[in-house]
Each structure stands twice: as C-alpha cells, then as structure tokens.
C-alpha cells in the first residue's frame, strides 16, 4: 500500500525533474540539434522502451533524432559513431558497454561531441551514464523481506557474484540482513545459470526444504534476480509448503515474475527498472550537457519501482 | 491411327528473299535467300559464319531481319515471334534438345500440350502413353517405349522422340516444315539411319525438311535440293541432279579444292612412341596396339564400343589397368602425368571437356603446360604470350586477341584453340576425339593440314571419328572396336567407306 503511493510520488518527481531540466538546460539550446542514438540492441524490449521515451522527450526539446540499429553488430556501432562524428552531430547516445567501443568514443571525444549512455556502463569519455541503481534495487527487496518477517527468522539467499551488476545486489542484501540480529541467513546459494537459473535454483531449494522440514524454519527467500525466485517458488509449491508464509522476492520484474506476483502466492515482490524514465532522463541529461553544464556525477540513477501484487499487472 | 498426309492440299511453300541482318559492325546476312517446299529435304550449307544460324533464327521468329521479304504461298508474312513461326507450321530441332531427363518419353512428348486429364487435374496415364505411342508410329518408330525415362535414351532416340512430339497435337496449326540443325552430330551410324528413315517418312507425307549439316555425305544422300550461303549471301540452289561434293565445297569456300585430304608424307622413322598392352578400363578388355612416329592410327566402332573411353583411359581421365608406354617409359596415372610426358588430347566435347568458355583463350592454351610456363609458382605471362602467338599461326586460329574468350569464337576456331593447346607441349603422341565435329569445311581443311604437319614432324596420332571418310583419308591404319575389344587393325589404304562400315558392324551381324 505504502509502495503504490511512493510509486505515484516518484512519477511526479520525475515529471518535475524533467520539467526543471527542460527549463534549466533546454532554455539555452537552439532547436534543431542533431542527436544520434546508436544501439546494437534495439530489438530488445527494454531498449525499445528507453529509446522511444528518449525520442519523445527529444521531440519536446525540438531535437532531430536519428536512431541507428546495428542489429547486434558492436563493431558497426563504432563505425556509425565515426560516421555521425564526420557528419557533425551535436550529441551521441549509446547503450553498449563503453569498453567495447573505445575507438568510437575516442573519435567523438576528438571532435568534442558529447556522448551519453543509457544503461551503458561508466567510462571517462562518457559524460553521464543514465541507469538504474542496483544497490537501491537490492535494498528495496531485502528491506521488504526484513519488514515482512518482522526482522526475525531464517532467510535463503540466491546470488551470483561472478557478474558485477548482480554482485552489487548481493552486497546490499548481506548488509541489510546482517543489521537484524534475529535474521539468520540459512544459505547463500550461487545457482548454475546456464539455463537462466530456474531449474538449478529449484533443485537447490528442494534440498534446503528437505534439510529444514519444520514449518516456519524458512521464513523468506531473497533472490538477486527473478529466475531463482521462480525456481524457489516451484520448489515450495512442489513440496506442498506454500501455506507456511515463506516470502520470496526477486529483482527485474520480468513478465513471468509479474505473473507469479499477481497470482498472490509466496512470490510477493520484485523491482522494475523505469526504462521510460531512463530514456527521458538521458535526453534531459544530454540537454544539460549541451547547455554547457559540467556534470559532477557521471552516473545518473533513475528511481526504480517495487512491484507487488498491487501493481504487478 | 493412320497419319493423314498433307498431299492433296496444294504444296505449301515458304520463301525468303534479299534478307539483310546486321549486328553492330557485323553484317551477318547480306542478301540471303531460301525457298522451302512441302515434300522436299532441303539442305542448307555454308561455312561457320556464313549466316546459316542467323537465317534459322529469323525463320524461328527469334530475330527480325533489317530488310527482305518473307512469303508463305506467295503472300507476304511476318515472323515477329516464335509463336508466329509456330503458327506458320514451322518446327525447330536444335543441337541441344530441350528435354527433361527425369521424365518419361511420353511426358516429354506432351510438355507443350495439355496432358490428357480426367478432370480434377488427374493425368490419364494410359491415354498419355497411347497418344505418345501413336505419334511415334506415325514416324514408323516402334522401338521406343513411351514409358522409358528420357534420360536413359540415346541421343538419336531422344531426337526421334522430339520429332514425334510435334505430331502429338491434332489441334492447332499443323506442322509442315521441320528445321534440323546438325541433327547427326551426336549420333552413331545406326541412330542416324533411323533418323533418316523418319525424315523420309515425313517427306513422303508432304512435309518439308530444312537440313543443316557439315556432313557432306549425308547431304548428298538425303537432299532433294541444296542451298549454299557464303558471307551472308545466297550463292546457289542446286537440285539433286546438279549437286556434287566438289561443287558444294567450291560454292561454300569460293575456292577450288583439289581434294579435301592433303597427301600423307612418308613416315620419317618407325620408333614406337605409344605402346599399349593388355589395357583394361570400363568395358575395355585386353587392348593392345602400337603407334609409331609419324603414324596415324584411327579408331572406328559403333557408339558404345568404347572408342572415346579408350582415349580417356590413355589420358588417365578414368582409371585403367595394364601397360601404357610413352617412348618406352611407363606412363603414370592422371591427366597431369600424361601431359607431362607429351601425351596431348583434344576431347570430344570441346565446350564441356576442353574450353574455359569465359576465360581468355591464352589461359586455356597454357593450362596443361603451366609447369613449363612458370617459375617458382608464378606465371610467366610473356612466355605464354610468345607461345600462343606462335601457335595461333600454326593452327590458323582467327581471333581478335589472345585475351578473347572462347565463347565469342566460332566452333571451328574453338576447336583450333584446343589444337593449339595440344601442340603447345610439343606433343609426342596426340589423341584426337572427333576432331572435326561441328566444324565448317574451311576449318576442317586447316585441321587436316595441321595433322599432316604433325606427322611430318614425327608425332604419333590416335584419332577417333564417326566420320568414316575422314578416318580413311587421314589414317595409316584403323583399329576396329567391338564392345570394348580391339578386334582387328587394318591398313586404311584402299579401304572404302562401305567396307569400313561393314567391319564396324561385322560382329553385330554375325
């Protein structure tokens, strides 16, 4: 309940922030700036959302946006950056790891053309990377669990420290659970992810359920992304222990997770990235850069959104 | 079932006069004329480039002449399209037959007609076969089974089936004239005989046949009239009583040929160049013969006797057992080994087996001799240019340049490219498979002269040819092949065409 209010509040804050950005940065700009958005991943759903939101915001700013899809070809991103640098665009937006396109970023830097990243990764040659805060997402779900179980009981964690964006989530959850003296982390599992993680997480969870047969001995399952949460849910349901009140959370709010959350079972919460917010914030950030502002932080986080049965659909 | 002859109607007559056709700079036809009547076999003769093909393409509606008149039974007509030619009752049988190898004879014969159908698009196979059988019988052909697969038939039977196919349709414009371009080029003697019989049947029914061939003997035997073209112009049209070999050759070439075959020079030495002992390959069994320096050995036999397989086995193009010695040394396996020791080869199918049609002719000439024309793996272009320039002279090849591609040359000049290639080695023994097939008289004479030049230099030759007068005229000895066995080798001197043919058939008759 409290979260839905927060969600609305966040949206308002975003609109306000965008408005301020437009007033602050956009005012100094002449309309008709040429901006190139270059991505190898346009066909992926998340990318589509933020590119569309970027275009919508850019239209309000009076920009001329050219979206270039290299269809998975990362080297072609470099080539197209070189092309638009030659063409003399005013700004470039990318959503690929900067480490892979160093040559293109060098070309842009040499021509003093600012580059802004959307969910791209940090790099000195990028004015700002607009993305979601992984620390924040983990904090939201781990605190959700701590509150739901009254700060006491056994918790199972699913993490994956080999992949940096997921590793930071585990760090935060560790800290939150440690802060509650009565919460006991029963196991910190790294599942095999070759199939996404559902099957192996289910197997690991089944073993844990067998090892802890007492109802109430497992109070919650915290997963660093949605697939282990879904696997744990399957294991709990298969073991017939869905009525013990075990709380499960995931992160990313993928469609399968949203369905499970909407169904109102043990899987209670996940966190969604605000892709549209990333797109429009990237536009506003670029507007600030073009307006001559020197950004202090080169990573700009767009608030994320807790998904529960109230807003899962 | 009986075929209704055309006799009774006034004889159809098609005439072309003063036909001119120009391609770019080249005047292919410059006053050509031809008159074709029902009930005659009419030969169209001329060297390659004389304009025969162009004239036929005009008749077929594939080309429109720049000037000239075409009349049908005296009334002017136009031939703007192949459909118009078909409408006038003309039918064309090309050297490369349009057949679908995988379908049956009956289906091939109905390709341009609707199949007999029972409704719902289902084919009535029985009716289809009966219709094909009836059409074949109109030509007097009973040995072809309409159910046989077309690809399994010999080229002669394929051609007969194609001719019979024009008799399938009983509706629509009746065909009255057939144009056959080099029909016997790929046929054996027996196959050709069957074709001739079918043509005579057609003639007796009042059809006209326009017959294009380089084979003088066929022309003299079959034709009622002969029209000769030279340089795109009409030279003469002669009736059966006026026509003679010498006259046709003179009209075609504009030169007076004393004789077609140049005199043989006496062999200079008698060292054995090629010795073959108990050779086996495919159907070939126990082949043994020797070719001496300056000697020409001919190989005669019916189609399927293994004549050209023998040459391919000698070249190493097909596996073989037994001994082959070149100048007393054992020959290794594979074509590369053969070329390396001076065994040279002019294959039967020049387009399929000899030429790289879209590549400079010098490349084709140099290809088998690459080891001698390169240093450290790099081609010596100057050496090739020098060599090819000399060979072009030797074989009297007419080409714009060494870079010209073979596809742009006439058949005779294409054959000369392969002769140049064979001479480049230079050869110790030269194997020739149908060396003058589809070649005009002028080029033929050049090729004969080349062969004589080689024997004078002491080169040994083995020639396979279906042209029996050619074998008799060129060879010192002729080996007769019967189903894979070399039954006898006879001296060519004094042999007549009939006697040689009899030798070829001997086993079959006996």
């Amino acid at each position: 309940m409290t979260y839905s209010i927060t969600r609305r509040g966040l949206s308002r804050a975003l609109v306000l922030a965008a408005g301020f950005a437009a007033l602050g940065g956009g005012a100094a700009l002449a309309a008709g700036e040429k901006i190139a958005v270059i991505t190898p991943y346009l066909s992926q759903p998340g990318t589509q959302f933020y590119v569309e939101a970027f275009e919508a915001r850019a239209k309000e700013l009076g920009w001329e946006v050219n979206v270039i899809d290299t269809q998975g070809d990362v080297a072609a991103v470099i080539s197209r950056i070189e092309d638009v640098v030659a063409q003399g665009v005013n700004g470039i937006v990318i959503n690929v790891d900067p480490a892979q396109i160093g040559a293109g970023l060098d070309a842009a830097a040499a021509a003093n053309i600012p580059v802004v990243g959307m969910d791209a990764g940090a790099d000195p040659r990028i004015k700002a990377n607009v993305t979601s805060n992984g620390y924040e997402m983990a904090a939201v779900t781990s605190v959700y669990i701590a509150n739901r179980i009254g700060g006491a009981g056994g918790v199972v964690m699913f993490t994956f420290d080999a992949f940096p964006p997921v590793q930071v989530r585990g760090v935060i959850a560790d800290a939150v659970f440690k802060n509650y003296p009565d919460i006991k982390v029963l196991d910190r599992i790294t599942p095999d992810v070759s199939d996404g993680g559902i099957a192996d997480s289910r197997a690991k969870m089944e073993a844990l359920l067998a090892a802890n047969p007492e109802p109430g001995s497992i109070k919650a399952v915290w997963a660093a992304w949605d697939q282990p949460a879904l696997g744990a849910l399957q294991a709990i349901e298969a073991a017939g222990r869905q009525n013990e009140g075990i709380v499960i959370t995931g992160i990313d709010a993928n469609p399968q997770a949203r369905d499970a959350i909407a169904a109102g079972g043990n899987f209670e919460a996940s966190v969604a990235q605000d892709f549209k917010g990333i797109g429009s914030t990237a536009a506003d950030t670029l507007a600030r850069v073009l307006g001559g502002e020197v950004l202090k932080a080169n990573v700009i986080y767009v608030p994320t959104q807790l998904v529960t049965s109230v807003n899962a659909k | 079932m009986s075929y209704r002859p055309l006799i009774g109607n006034p004889m159809p007559q098609l005439a072309l006069h003063g036909v001119v056709k120009t391609y770019g700079q080249t005047r292919a036809l410059d006053g050509a004329a031809l008159e074709l009547r029902g009930g005659e076999i009419h030969a169209l003769m001329g060297e390659n480039g004389a304009g025969k093909s162009t004239l036929i393409r005009i008749l077929a509606g594939l080309e429109v002449p720049d000037a000239g008149q075409i009349t049908m039974n005296g009334a002017p007509v136009a031939l703007p399209s192949p459909a118009a030619a078909e409408g006038l009752g003309l039918r064309f049988l090309h050297q490369e037959l349009q057949i679908v190898s995988a379908l049956s004879v009956a289906e091939n014969m109905h390709l341009t007609h609707p199949y007999p159908s029972s409704g719902f698009g289902l084919v009535r196979w029985g009716a289809l076969r009966a219709s094909a059988k009836a059409a074949l019988e109109r030509l007097g052909i009973t040995h072809i089974d309409p159910r046989a697969t077309m690809g399994d038939l010999g080229p002669g039977d394929q051609m007969l089936a194609r001719i019979a196919a024009t008799l399938v349709d009983t509706k629509g414009p009746r065909p009255w004239a057939y144009v056959l371009d080099e029909p016997t080029a790929a046929l054996t003697g027996a196959e050709a005989e069957r074709l001739f019989a079918a043509l005579l049947t057609l003639r007796a029914a009042g059809h006209a046949i326009l017959y294009v061939s380089h084979r003088m003997d066929e022309v003299l035997r079959l034709s009622d009239r002969v029209t000769v073209l030279r340089d795109g112009r009409h030279v003469s049209t002669m009736g059966r009583d006026q026509v003679s070999r010498e006259q046709i050759i003179q009209d075609m070439t504009g030169r007076d040929f004393a004789t077609l075959y140049p005199p043989a020079s006496a062999p200079t030495e008698t060292a054995p160049l090629l010795q073959v002992r108990s050779l086996q390959s495919g159907i070939l069994r126990d082949i043994a013969f020797t070719v001496n320096a300056g000697e020409v050995l001919g190989l005669a036999g019916l189609s399927g006797s293994g004549r050209n397989h023998l040459l391919r086995a000698l070249m190493g193009a097909v596996p073989r057992q037994g001994q082959v010695l070149i100048k007393g040394a054992q020959l290794g396996h594979g074509p590369a080994a053969a070329w390396a020791v001076g065994l040279a080869y002019v294959p039967r199918e020049r387009r399929a087996e000899g030429l790289m049609l879209l590549q400079p002719l010098a490349d084709t000439v140099a290809l088998p001799h690459m080891p001698a024309l390169s240093t450290a793996g790099f081609v010596r272009r100057a050496w090739i240019a020098h060599l090819v320039a000399r060979l072009v002279q030797t074989v009297r090849l007419k080409a714009q340049s060494q870079a010209q591609v073979a596809a742009e040359l006439s058949g005779g000049n294409q054959q000369k490219v392969l002769f140049a290639r064979a001479l480049a080695g230079p050869p110790v023994v030269l194997l020739l498979d149908e060396p003058t097939r589809g070649v005009d008289v002028g080029a033929k004479f050049d090729i004969y002269a080349t062969i004589r030049g080689l024997t004078a230099q002491g080169v040994g030759l083995v020639i396979v040819s279906s042209d029996l007068p050619e074998l008799i005229g060129l060879c010192d000895r002729i080996g007769i092949l019967h189903s894979g066995r070399l039954t006898q080798i006879v001296p060519a001197a004094g042999l007549t065409e009939g006697a040689l043919l009899a030798l070829c058939y001997e086993k079959e008759v006996a």
């Binding site: 270039i68 990362v74 070189e82 092309d83 030659a86 070309a107 | 594979g334 084709t364 793996g377 081609v379």
Partner: protein, 323 residues
C-alpha cells in the same frame, strides 16, 4: 547501349553514389578523414570478401565465414583469459580458421557435398563451438590485453593533415596487405590460374591435368584463415569477443563479391572488383548514416543497389547472348 551499361554500369553507379553524397554532404563526405574512416570500417569485410573471392573463383562459396570469424575471436579471447600471450593466442585462432576452412574443403571437394549444404552445416557447428567456448557470454574488459585493443585504434603515421596527425589505421593496412597477397595468389601464381580454370570448367581443367579435388579443397583454407583474420580484427576493434559478432560478415561478403562480378567483363570474380564491391557497401553505410537515413531504410536501399547492378549485368549478358 546495353553493352556499355553492362561494362561500365556499376562503375558509373559507384561514381554517381559518390557524387550524390558529395553534393548532399559538401563539408563532411569528401574529406580525407571520412575516407580513412570508411577504409577502417570496411577493413574486416574486405578481408572476408577477398578470401571469399578465392572460393568463388572456383565456383563455390562459403557460408561459414561469419561464424568462423566469431569463433576465432572467441578462441583468442578465451586463450587471453587463460594467460596466453597475444601472439600465441592469435596463432591458435588462425590455426582454428585454417582447420575449419579445410574441413569445409574436404566436405565439398572430397566427400562431394554441395557447398551450400556443407558450409551451412559448418556455419552452425562453428557458431555452436563459439557459444560453448564462451559460455554464451561476451568476453571483455580486463581479460582482453590492452595491446590487442590498441592495435585497432592506432595506425601507421604518415605525416600530418592540417593540425591533426595523418594516420593510416592498422586495420586498413592489414586489409590492404591481405588484398595484395590474395591478388598475387589469384592473378599471378599458377595456383590462382588453375583455380580460375576449375571455375571456368572443372571437367576441362581435370582433363588438362589440374588436380581439381585438391585445389578446390585448398581454396577453402583461404576463406577459413580470412574469416579468422577478420574475426580477430573485429575482436580488436571492439576489444571484446562475442559468439555472434561475426554474423553480419557472411552475407555482406557474398554481396560484395557479386557486386564486384558485375564490374568484370565476363562476370568473373576478381579480387580488386570485390574490393570495389566492399567499398560500395561501406560508402552506402557511411553516406546514408550521415544523411540520417533510417537504418532499416538503409538496408532496403543497399539491397536495391545490389539488385540493380546485378540486373544490368544480367540484361547485358542476355543482349550479348542473343547474337
């Protein structure tokens, strides 16, 4: 007229494309820097296209070049993570390319599978191998040696251009060098002339003493190694390796060779013509991006240009054949 179009149509078309871009982009297109960019952008495609020319000279083609490029990049990157030196890792990756190419050659030439079928099968095999070796992930960051990535960002200094240094990118240098090597092989060596003979008429070549089976097999070695070189160039340019990153190379390389074939008199594949074909594709990408043409529209346009060139060539051939 038709013959003229056929002989010079593609060349005139290329000139027209360049002129159009020059007029529409007066300040940015016809600059030395932009052309250097183009040569660097097409360097990988050039390598694959000239290698592809070798098998197309023989009358075959190779669909597996794209996945071989990916595989070579992955092999090198995996070896980097295992601590191999840069030269050792590159040598192994090139070796994989050679072996992969010769496998294609054996399938097509010795066993006698149609090139389309054989190389389609190896396409999926090599792609699968790249996924297995990489675990499906992109290998990047600290795993890729600095020197390897820097190679693609630097070049041969050739003095200065205005106030900036004029540098010929190493990728361009590499593409030029390999083009020169393949040119020498195809045009000047007996080996190359024999390959042309096989392509012109395989049976005639065999009867003329050419070892058709063996030479046809070896031609695939060139595409294998060429694809591997291109894959490594790609990996250096993006300083990472991904099991799918070479995919786009195959169709573009075949398209470039076909475009090139329309330039030659008798429609034969020639090395320099293939390079011109590659340049047409590269110029189209560069110019249309600068003109802000939608990337999907750009693909339609590139396809149309290929069709147009090949149609003119085919019509011209028909006109000649009618004689």
């Amino acid at each position: 007229m038709v013959r003229f179009l056929r002989h010079y149509g593609t060349l005139m078309g290329m000139a027209a494309i360049i002129v159009v871009f020059w007029v529409l982009l007066p300040d940015t297109f016809m600059t030395a820097r932009n052309w250097l960019n183009i040569t660097q952008q097409v360097s990988m495609l050039t390598v694959v296209a000239v290698a592809m020319t070798v098998v197309m000279v023989v009358g075959d083609f190779d669909l597996s070049v794209g996945s071989m490029a990916s595989l070579a990049g992955i092999v090198a990157a995996v070896l980097f993570t295992l601590g191999f030196s840069v030269p050792a890792a590159l040598a192994v990756a090139l070796g994989v390319g050679l072996v992969g190419g010769l496998v294609n050659g054996v399938l097509v030439s010795v066993i006698g599978i149609l090139p389309f079928v054989a190389t389609l099968a190896t396409l999926t095999m090599y792609s699968g191998a790249a996924f297995i070796l990489s675990g499906g992930k992109t290998i990047f960051g600290r795993d890729i040696p600095q020197a390897f990535g820097d190679f693609a960002k630097s070049g041969l200094p050739l003095g200065s251009l205005g106030d900036k240094p004029f540098v010929l990118p190493w990728l361009t240098v590499l593409a030029l060098a390999l083009t020169a090597v393949i040119f020498v092989v195809l045009e000047l060596s007996t080996y190359g002339r024999r390959l042309y003979a096989i392509g012109g008429n395989a049976e005639a070549a065999r009867l003329a003493g050419v070892r058709v089976t063996f030479l046809r097999l070896t031609a695939y070695g060139f595409t294998g190694v060429g694809a591997a070189v291109a894959g490594l160039m790609y990996a250096a340019r993006v300083a990472s390796a991904n099991p799918t990153q070479g995919e786009g190379l195959m169709l573009n390389a075949i398209a470039a060779v076909f475009l090139g074939m329309t330039l030659t008199r008798h429609g034969q594949p020639r090395v320099l013509a293939s390079v011109l074909g590659v340049l047409v594709l590269g110029i189209m990408d560069n110019g249309l991006t600068q003109l802000q043409v939608d990337s999907y529209v750009r693909e339609v346009l590139v396809g149309l240009i290929i069709l147009l060139a090949v149609s003119i060539s085919a019509l011209g051939r028909k006109a000649i054949g009618r004689r």
